[in-house]
């Protein structure tokens, strides 16, 4: 069976060339490409067969799906129904049971080396992975099976990328990111808890249209979406630069919309597109709503508490600055004492030497 391209699809539906090109332009900007790439996108959309996608879920809360189905451009419904062939999805498929699992095997066979594997959720590694089962097998088994023939693997969400909430200390199930189970398949990490809807659709469309994974940073995240810190794209940044901060959630600064740095904002450590894309067709993002960023797209953010201060507190000792200042104070006292004893010792020594001299 020849798979049709996006253009074929538009023609079959009787849609105009104009709306096709418009769609391509929307896709271009969504994928973070410059406008001179439009022509390439149109070419790809004319010729490249629509990709087959297998979407599996491990240890997670399905929040990434919740995010995904709110994608505004392209509309997630459009993406699922028209632009990709979503053959298998734990959440969105109507089928279930043995026929459903058989369909997965068939898809993997038929499109070997061509399908995109989207993974949501962490794998569990403890006790042979029994804490996360899917279709009668462990999730790690499914992951190995499905990634073996995948053209590319997309790790959606911080769980698939780094382990996520279930990997928080003490991590009873041994949850971790998926990378150790996918063999040599090229991996794109799309972290976030959840990722921004348009980022999720943008990445998959890039792979679909160009047949290659987007340029990645040294952590394996697509540069066009994770190349900037939230802090560097945040609209509250001028307040940061000017030293204007909210210090509590109800002070003057908070009401005036000043920077949330002193309330533990993780924007300076977090790479994501919240600052420029924002959420839900640009409606808002956490900082805009007055909540400091918790760095949900960072590896290990779940253990970097407390989220509302810049640095960890060590009980009554306070943070490292308090401890350090106390240590410096203690050191000053110690040094003074040491100096006094040193002088005393020196005097003793000299007195002794003198006495010895006189004795000679």
């Amino acid at each position: 069976m020849e798979r049709e391209s996006l253009w074929d699809h538009y023609m079959k539906k009787g849609m105009s060339r104009r709306s096709f090109v418009k769609g391509c332009i929307a896709l271009t900007s969504l994928m973070g490409l410059s406008t001179d790439m439009v022509i390439k996108v149109v070419e790809a959309a004319e010729k490249t067969p629509l990709p087959v996608v297998v979407w599996i879920h491990g240890h997670e809360c399905t929040g990434c799906d919740e995010s995904f189905i709110r994608s505004g451009s392209p509309l997630a419904s459009d993406l699922v129904l028209n632009e990709i062939a979503l053959e298998y999805d734990h959440l969105l498929s109507a089928a279930c049971g043995e026929p459903f699992e058989a369909h997965l095997d068939k898809t993997i066979q038929q499109y070997k080396g061509k399908y995109i594997l989207a993974v949501e959720g962490a794998t569990c590694t403890k006790d042979n992975g029994v804490y996360c089962m899917s279709g009668g097998h462990t999730f790690s088994h499914l992951l190995q099976k499905a990634s073996a023939g995948a053209a590319a693997v997309v790790a959606y969400g911080s769980c698939a990328a780094y382990g996520g909430i279930q990997a928080a200390k003490p991590n009873p199930t041994g949850s971790s990111g998926i990378s150790q189970f996918i063999g040599n398949a090229p991996l794109v990490k799309v972290p976030g808890c959840p990722p921004i809807p348009e980022v999720m659709t943008g990445v998959i469309m890039h792979i679909a249209l160009f047949g290659s994974i987007p340029p990645l940073d040294n952590d394996g995240r697509p540069k066009q979406f994770y190349g900037n810190r939230i802090h560097d794209t945040c609209y509250r940044r001028p307040f940061f630069d000017a030293g204007m901060f909210a210090e509590t959630f109800d002070d003057k600064g908070a009401k005036a919309g000043w920077c949330l740095y002193k309330l533990g904002c993780r924007g300076p450590e977090t790479y994501n597109s919240c600052g420029n894309l924002r959420w839900f067709q640009g409606m808002s993002y956490p900082i805009q709503s007055g909540a400091p960023c918790i760095g949900c797209s960072n590896a290990n953010f779940w253990d970097e508490d407390p989220l509302l201060t810049r640095m960890p507190e060590y009980g009554p000792l306070g943070n490292v600055d308090k401890i350090g200042a106390a240590a410096a104070g203690a050191m000053a006292v110690g040094v003074a004492a040491h100096a006094v004893v040193s002088v005393a010792q020196k005097n003793m020594k000299e007195a002794k030497e003198l006495a010895e001299k006189k004795g000679e």
């Binding site: 940073d217 040294n218 952590d219 540069k223 190349g227 900037n228 810190r229 560097d232 001028p238 307040f239 940061f240 630069d241 000017a242 030293g243 204007m244 901060f245 210090e247 003057k252 600064g253 740095y261 002193k262 993780r266 300076p268 450590e269 977090t270 790479y271 760095g295 960072n298 590896a299 290990n300 953010f301 970097e304 810049r310 640095m311 960890p312 490292v320 600055d321 401890i323 350090g324 240590a327 410096a328 050191m331 000053a332 040094v335 040491h338 100096a339 004893v341 040193s342 002088v343 010792q345 020196k346 003793m348 020594k349 000299e350 002794k352 003198l354 001299k357």
Partner: protein, 236 residues
């Protein structure tokens, strides 16, 4: 009694530190001070209530820029250190932890510092100090790697990104890189305080020329220091 002690003593001059090391040292002293103060201010900035973002001039933006500027100056000054290291043996006073005498002498010095002995053997640089300075360089290396690692993460394909970009993913998260940077900064500043005390003590109580040698490059000593052979290569 006083003039009986202050008798004429023959002293010998040892040329230890090259000018490159000395200049580096003072750049380092200034840089560490500035970097520490600005770093603390970046983590816990003061709050300005009376300005407009567009008109304020001496705020966090500037403090950060000063921090970055001195980070560059300090790192660049290592060129001097390395050059001195190559051309002058006195710039190469390693802790010889692969030698038995290193440990024996360390114990000797430690006993003197804890007042169990009246004095320790004379050294150009005693083994305890050598160990401490080596540790200091390790701490500084951590600061450079975490600092530039964080700094260049927005441009991973630049030269700086390629040089330092691998380090933050190695730590696991950028937040941890920030914390390590901050904690190690405290380690450096506390060591620096200890260092200042110890050199002043060595200069004025033991006559070891620790402070003056960092200006003049030479030490004038009464006794032949145990490690004098490190200057001409007769002790390895």
């Amino acid at each position: 009694m006083a003039d009986e002690i202050m008798k004429e003593e023959p002293r010998k001059t040892y040329y230890v530190f090259s000018p490159f090391l000395r200049i580096f040292h003072w750049i380092m002293a200034i840089s560490i001070t500035v970097l520490f103060i600005t770093g603390i201010l970046i983590t816990t900035p003061w709050v300005t209530y009376s300005s407009e973002p567009t008109t304020s001039w001496m705020a966090l933006d500037w403090i950060r820029n000063i921090h970055f500027l001195f980070a560059y100056i300090f790192t660049a000054s290592f060129i001097l250190r390395i050059y001195g290291f190559i051309i002058n043996r006195g710039d190469r006073l390693f802790p010889h932890f692969w030698k038995g005498y290193f440990y024996r002498n360390t114990i000797d010095v430690a006993m003197h510092y804890s007042f169990l002995k009246f004095e320790h053997k004379p050294f150009l640089r005693n083994p305890l100090a050598r160990g401490a300075y080596a540790t200091m360089y390790v701490l500084i290396a951590i600061e450079i790697l975490t600092g530039f690692g964080i700094y260049y993460m927005t441009d991973t394909s630049s030269l700086g990104g390629m040089l330092f970009g691998w380090f933050v993913p190695l730590i696991g998260s950028e937040y941890w890189a920030h914390l390590i940077h901050h904690y190690v900064a405290w380690g450096i500043i506390l060591s620096a305080l200890g260092h200042i005390y110890m050199v002043i003590r060595a200069e004025f109580m033991e006559g070891e020329g620790e402070v003056s040698s960092m200006f003049a490059g030479t030490k004038m000593l009464r006794h032949k220091p145990f490690d004098a052979g490190h200057l001409d290569g007769t002790l390895d």
